[in-house]
Symmetry: C2
Amino acid sequence: MESSNNNNEDMVVTPWEVKGKVDYERLIRDFGTQSITPELLKKVEKITGKLHPQLKRHIFFSHRDLDTVLNLYDKGTKFVLYTGRGPSGPVHIGHLIPWIFTLHLQKKFGVRLYFQMTDDEKFLIDDKIDLQDTKKYSYENALDLIALGFKPEDTFIIYDVEDIDLLYDIALEVAKRITYSTAKASFGFKDNTNIGWIFWPAIQAVPCFIHKKLTGENLPALIPAAIDQDPYWRVTRDIAQKLGYFKPAQIHCRFLPGLGTGGKMSASKPETSIFTHDKPEIVKRKIWNAYTGGKPTAAEQRKTGANPSICSIYQYFFYLFEEDDKKLDVRLNKCRKGEILCGECKKELVQRLNMFLREHQEKREKAKDVIEQYHIKR
Amino acid sequence: MESSNNNNEDMVVTPWEVKGKVDYERLIRDFGTQSITPELLKKVEKITGKLHPQLKRHIFFSHRDLDTVLNLYDKGTKFVLYTGRGPSGPVHIGHLIPWIFTLHLQKKFGVRLYFQMTDDEKFLIDDKIDLQDTKKYSYENALDLIALGFKPEDTFIIYDVEDIDLLYDIALEVAKRITYSTAKASFGFKDNTNIGWIFWPAIQAVPCFIHKKLTGENLPALIPAAIDQDPYWRVTRDIAQKLGYFKPAQIHCRFLPGLGTGGKMSASKPETSIFTHDKPEIVKRKIWNAYTGGKPTAAEQRKTGANPSICSIYQYFFYLFEEDDKKLDVRLNKCRKGEILCGECKKELVQRLNMFLREHQEKREKAKDVIEQYHIKR
């Protein structure tokens, strides 16, 4: 399954696999998306006030039609947010990045979120997973979403298998207009791909359009998601207008690097990810074992400095655990000059992670009482 | 779309198209099904008593695993019947043939029928049809089924789009186990086939297995249907046991020839079919215009006889409108000897057809009051 390039070193970025060192500029060219320009950021800032760190730091770095959606918004046409999760395992910090940003957009723009739990997809693409597993993780993962602070009145979680009766008619309209050759070219389907997987892109398209069915109101969807999901939206964009809908817009984020080297965090390599259920001692162990840009000895590091650009610890501060730009800069410069050792950064990160996780885990417990209020069939 | 042969004259038999002169012996060879032998008929007769005319006349001529199902039945394991309809237009006499036989089996064996209205399939395969059309015809066609005398306690109509929530989890289990190459080989899918159509065989498989989900009881399904549907069951049979179900058994019927020449009755050529809603004058006109084996003049026919084997009128008597074998034989011989003219046969058939349709139309009206009792979600 290769929807993108793999002729350059080892980079593979598809909806099902991300590996190698990710070249984001190249993804923009290969996928045919747009950079988020300083002008566009100004436009966002005019509406939302102070830019979210994930925008200022170019963690969200690419888009399709974000400008169009903002122009429509200026003229009084709102939009809906749409993102989702493939519930094949527990949630890690990397999954939270776009959700946190989505919550920010929801608050600033005052718009509705449709959140798709793609239990059917995860079942179809993974031989080892059954529908009981995906159902369990759908529930568990929804708790993580709710724990971030989404409000039920604006948040509608779709569980594909349970809610298929809401989705199927729109999925049929979509599927009728996507040929096998288009799907093959977009997703790299092969002769041994199963026929459920081949159909599935039609299901993923539905939340782009479902708002009209539920409310009568035709609004564009804006999809904040990691860029590996882009192939789905290309196909959906091609058929949206034929069906009388707006083309869905996207805003694409980078992957939080794993605690090892390269790639995005991967639930299949649990030592390289911090899961939201991790206990403090586990977090400590994972962070202490993490890959950094440090030198073999403290003496050498004090003398020649370290390399934060390849340091997974620094990336955690950059992505989520240091909102203050000045403090982040201080850390960066100290690291380069050898004025701070890896152990100090690790210790601070463990503290911040565990503080974050303690709160998150509490909120996650409370979410169990209200999870039904978020179901699209509430 | 060619699942079967078309290298012999013009015969094409697929789930979507039947044309040319159908060679049923060849279909048995090409599809790899079994003839219904005299021994098997005796086995049926032992259970049901007097054979139904559609068995005695070899209108049902081929099967898969009918013997297995009967052996299980002998030992106390019942089965369920499963057949269906693609609701893309009104029902004609040709559609009723296997339904009438299904009703006979249901009564004699005391078993449940699952009847699938494949509104999703018809929508996916026909550019000119929308989901409103298929919904309307699902309702209309169900009235025709009920009018035949099925009892609600044993008859469960599945409307695919409306009932997808009952079907989807089983469809996913099926779809996960069918590769694109298998589907392509079985159904002749091409690069321009839409992805909904490619997935759809998984939906058609579900009623073979749904009884267990609804009742907890694992029973084989026996599917009476025209032989053009066979490719679906080949694929379903291949995966049934992997999922813990019996392989579905089939019993295949011939197509009632159209009133023109060759092929099965076709809703796209309305003059060659008698629809259940046809008014008496319409029936009269269609029958009077029908193709027969008659001679150009009455004098010639009286002298040399006619050819009933190519006569569509004779086929109507054979399939449905002359249950008495002796009377049918008399008609056959008189025709061959020129002792009866086409006008006489046509006149009699018009009478019988209109009598049948008057009653059917009355029952169909009454079915409107009880149709909900037949819905699988009653």
